[in-house]
Amino acid sequence: MENLQDNQFDVWEVFIQSKPGLPHIHAGNVHATDKKMAVQNARDTYTRRGEGTSIWVVPSLNVTASDPDENEMLFDPSNDKMYRHPTFYILPEGAKNI
């Protein structure tokens, strides 16, 4: 998994949480040789203006992604399963708070 080809280090994906309570969102990536350097570089590169209060870094090679060729199968909108949506259900007139 490590980049031994050249001296440009490994690539790490960077996720930033803009404030507590919100999800960590992908911001981009940095090059680094270890976790500590990855966090430091992510801090310098992506949070110079109060963009975040927490950083996650993950080696890019450890990210497994779905195959775009399988998008149709994976992300089918399942329009035949409308019962997954609340609007599918017929309720008696006058039912409240539901």
């Binding site: 050249d6 440009q8 690539v11 990536n29 270890d34 110079r48 203006r49 195959d67 775009p68 060729d69």
Partner: protein, 316 residues
Amino acid sequence: MKNLHNDESFQKRIDANEHVEPRDYMPEGYRKHLIRQISQHAHSEVIGMQPEGNWITRAPSLRAKQILLAKIQDEGGHGLYLYSAAETLGVSREEMIEQLHSGKAKYSNIFNYPALNWADIGAIGWLVDGAAIVNQVSLQRTSYGPYSRAMIRICKEESFHQRQGYEIMCKMMAGTLEQKQMAQDAMNRWWWPALMMFGPHDSDSPHTGDAVKWKIKRESNDTLRQKFIDKTVQQAELIGLVIPDKDLKWNAQNGHYDHGTINWEEFFEVINGKGPCNKQRLEHHKKYHLEGEWVREAATAHKMKKIKRERHHLTH
């Protein structure tokens, strides 16, 4: 829409304004065009640190120095965002740097002009960054996802760059006669190169056709250049700077400024290495890249040592 592996369905996705992501099918020409454009853009950010870096130690106040440092740091960051975007296309950072050093990859021509005095720092921020912003705002809608995301981030950070440059020009234009002359002189030297940043006229632009078809480029060179001129004239007039173009005049019929002829001969001379600073900019980059070699080696050696130690723990 279906992600079929042919150019026709790719074009359909583009026409439907879908973004293209790194693992999607893309024609080889699309990939090549992006690698060339994004790496050139990244190199421009990094080489662009040099003319300004030259003035950090000579900034006229602590405030000016802090601002300039922050701006140059941003530019380094912008270079990194862009290198990352290019890397998603299968080119390594090392290859890109090699191409810069060998001259195969270009950077923006504008950085081959020298920053002679403090007024140049004002003119660079106001005009050079101003022109870059017009281009980058348009590129936020580029079809390649990682490039578009990098542009959005860059545009957010960049608007202070132009304002700080304009503020320097405002201050000098409110100063002594000598300061006013310096500001006007910087304006005279930077105006035309700034217009050239948008590239050749649409009629002579070799790369525009495919780039527009693929929505890498969303607006043409001439359209972007016109936007920049229309915005900038009022800002110049407000502080008493004269645009060094005797043919510049408001055209009430089309609602734009007409401008004089751009000296493309100079443009191509500078692109082909005859600008005042081409040699200096590249040599500087090579020198510091080489001088940093031991740092990269040490960091890599440290990593290898740790991996070895971890493996040792696992087996014992």
